[in-house]
Subunit: 195 residues, 2 copies
């Protein structure tokens, strides 16, 4: 099989598994269920993933890959501390609201059991992202000689909470859409953390 | 059995069940597991709750009761729009950080399967709380004749995200404690939403 097809198939499996895990619950979904939803034989599925644990880990890891590719890497290329932070807020909200990957990114924060070694790897990537956001906020505070008493760490957790919480209330047909949300959350953080 | 004992026992069951659901996963935990952890017979547990679904619903409902008793009711009694919002931020953070009830409140936001009628009741209570917070923020914006372009709705979701997300990163032994977090999150919202 050409490598492209393999990569596409893996992502397709992860998306389908993430959807099933959310519809039926992680524990209640079997490898058989995942294979059936994909019209794969059980052997066909095991060709890609050895276990449900591995699928869960790869879903979370893929969510962090998406964050790396669509948020961290492009943000690093932006000039200017303020513009970098604005780009981060916009891009992170876009990832969270992406219809295609919503189920993948939601899984990142659900409390399911992962072998300690795998959990550690995901937590290390999450921590790295928190530090990245914290650094951007510290840069803007310095650039603006801000008098805010909000520390970069507290502001980073606040920002990540605001954004990662969106999936709890967001409705595609609701009044509050990405186009309104991005400027409002950006203003809230800029006014709140850079007095 | 006197009523007090019944109420205490129910809460004890809910706390233990919530802890097990988080340690082992909701689907992977059986009514037998819950009974065993409480040193109850299966019949003894069914005396209180008919099913695991009912326990899950009652955990979520109890989390909303805690919000009502420890946040909404006392906040309503506070004089002055600003002081009411400050009290809400402080009290909600205290509920989220309460060691005794942490597992109960976390369950409120996990994505588990609940019969649609029960899910509806929980969602109605959550929605009522969002409206309460939104109303407080609108009151402060009016009182301050704020020029902020952040709508009370967006600010309410931002605030609830900041606070409800705390359980994802908070460590009792970490550098950021409730005593630091409350004033920083309060400043962030006050500066951010009431420019």
């Amino acid at each position: 099989m050409p490598r492209e097809t393999l990569v596409d198939s893996r992502q397709e499996i992860l998306r389908t598994a993430a959807r099933l895990f959310q519809q039926r619950g992680y524990d209640a979904t079997s490898m058989n269920d995942v294979a059936a939803a994909l019209k794969l034989s059980k052997g066909g599925l095991y060709h890609y993933f050895q276990s449900k644990d591995e699928i869960l880990f790869e879903i979370m890891n893929h969510a962090m890959d998406l964050t790396q590719e669509r948020v961290i890497d492009p943000v690093r290329a932006v000039q200017g501390a303020e513009e970098r932070l604005r780009a981060l807020i916009r891009r992170h909200i876009e990832v969270v609201l992406s219809v295609r990957d919503r189920e993948i990114t939601v899984m990142l924060h659900e409390n399911h059991h992962l072998a300690p070694a795998l959990r550690k790897r995901i937590n290390a990537r999450k921590k790295e992202y928190v530090h990245f956001v914290e650094g951007l906020i510290a840069d803007v505070q310095r650039a603006r000689q801000s008098k805010a008493s909000v520390s970069p760490r507290a502001a980073a957790f606040a920002l990540l909470g605001m954004i990662n919480w969106i999936y709890q209330w967001y409705k595609p047909e609701g009044a509050l859409q990405a186009a309104d949300l991005i400027p409002q959350f950006t203003e809230l953080i800029f006014a709140g953390a850079f007095v």
